[in-house]
Symmetry: C2
Subunit: 261 residues, 2 copies
């Protein structure tokens, strides 16, 4: 069955969505069967993969409908990027997810139950999380085997990581003891700036203290926002964009983990 | 009494916190009495103004304690930036704000009630909101006279604005008919990139359609993350940093609005 990876950091704008989409692209390029699940009401991953959230809402074919309105997950999943990967889209209707989850018996386990139905059809399932440690994010952690923590190399992004790890520990002790941190991914890195280098050193130390891998930092490159604009992964536009080695290393580590799974 | 402005966009990392801190700095420099209220559990504004959230938690002197644990607001407010402005700090304890608000009678009006107690002591009260349209964000809108919408000049940041305006309309019709959008502030703007210019044009058009002012875009400048690192506003480090004219224009418009208030 598929390995499930959640990508999260409650700090906003650190490259969670861009990372999910580009890692999915590299896994698909390696011949893997990949599903991206958009767990963010902003529907950034959906938009980044060229799909209009409102269209999916009209068809009652988003994550919201799968979780709370009995839509079959196969009905909501669509093929994207020239059929190289699949997407379970979201829309603004997911903004009510937390109150829906809180009003149902064991609501935070609904996502895991739906994902388990289709785990046999994929090699990897990537979950893009919103910028807050909410019930939908906890639901993603309940369903995940691995966690990737993107963090901009700047102070505010680092400060939230201890809290994230506390939430993860709660999930491990109550629901999902097998979940592991795949690593920390430094993003939006500018090697010319002292602060970026200092924060990168802090992240590396944090990784060391917690026994996490810290991947090589992803530098800024125009291919990534261009990809968002064109509805496709940045690395599909420029395979050699800055950071491609980091994303490739993550994809390789994931493929190794799969064969050992 | 003070004019209250909320700064929000549910898209993460668009420069909400940096904008609040730097506008507060310019208002203080103009001799205004300014209070920054950190409504984000990440406590970015608190950290940006050089205060450790955990210290305030230990003293039971954060926004959480003021809203839900009967701490007097004067006890939680501290003076920052060489006494040029005040801060009502937050901490991770605010992460439970939504469930606290949902469990109390008219919980989303608690913030407005607390702010009204001290409105006479300030000219401006700036509310920094988290990257989601949650109950704490609605509470900030209930308390505000003005709304500033920072938006990065990139696709994903723009997509969320219609939903933000819908939430604002709900607040206007149910609680706060006087609230108005001060304007849209394009941020993290790179004039060399086609997409940034295209998105700026989209934001300008969106402003025109809704009758909002669109301020001149703020370009990237190293002073801003440097300020975050040093616990002070970027414009205190480099008063002529790129974007200073935009922030100055916003401060000037706010001062005009105050005299007409
Ligand atoms: N390596 C990069 N180079 C240049 N721009 C990048 C890079 N990675 C991400 N970006 C840009 O940074 C912005 C934030 O990225 P993204 O939306 O993926 O972050 P996020 O953490 O998912 O945000 P949110 O917290 O709102 O979910 C986007 O405009 C994106 O295009
Ligand atoms: N004009 C600028 N030039 C350079 N960097 C900037 C500028 N404005 C903001 N930043 C940087 O961009 C990042 C995001 O800014 P900030 O944290 O203020 O956004 P936010 O919208 O408050 O994020 P969140 O959604 O997490 O609350 C920070 O690292 C900040 O230092
Ligand atoms: Mg995202
Ligand atoms: Mg912020």
């Amino acid at each position: 069955p598929a390995l499930v990876m959640a990508t999260l950091n409650q700090k906003g704008g650190v490259g969670k969505t861009v990372s999910v989409v580009n890692i999915a692209h590299l896994l698909a390029k390696a011949g893997m069967r990949v599903l991206v699940v958009d767990c963010d009401a902003q529907a950034s991953a959906t938009i980044h993969l060229g799909v209009y959230p409102a269209d999916r809402d009209a068809l009652k074919a988003t994550l919201t409908h799968v979780l709370f309105h009995k839509t079959r997950i196969e009905h909501a999943i669509i093929s994207v990027c020239d059929d190289s990967m699949d997407l379970l889209p979201s829309s603004i209707s997911l903004a009510r997810a937390d109150s829906e989850i809180n009003s149902r018996a064991n609501g935070s386990l609904l996502l895991r139950a739906r994902i388990n139905e289709i785990k046999d059809r994929y090699d990897f399932i990537l979950l893009d999380c919103p910028p807050h440690l909410s019930q939908i994010t906890v639901s993603a952690l309940n369903a995940a085997d691995l966690v990737l923590i993107p963090s901009q190399t700047e102070t505010l992004s680092l400060m939230g990581i201890p809290q994230l790890l506390e939430t993860l520990a709660d999930v491990q002790s109550l629901v999902n003891p097998a979940i592991r941190v795949l690593g920390i991914l430094p993003t939006l890195y500018d090697p010319r700036r002292n602060q970026d280098r200092d924060r990168l050193a802090d992240l590396t130390e944090m990784g060391g203290q917690n026994g996490f891998q810290v991947f090589p930092p992803v530098r800024r490159a125009v291919a990534y926002p261009t990809g968002v604009n064109e509805g496709k992964p940045g690395l599909a536009i420029d395979p050699n964009a800055a950071g491609c080695e980091s994303y490739q290393e993550i994809a390789d580590v994931m493929i190794d983990r799969l064969s050992a799974y």
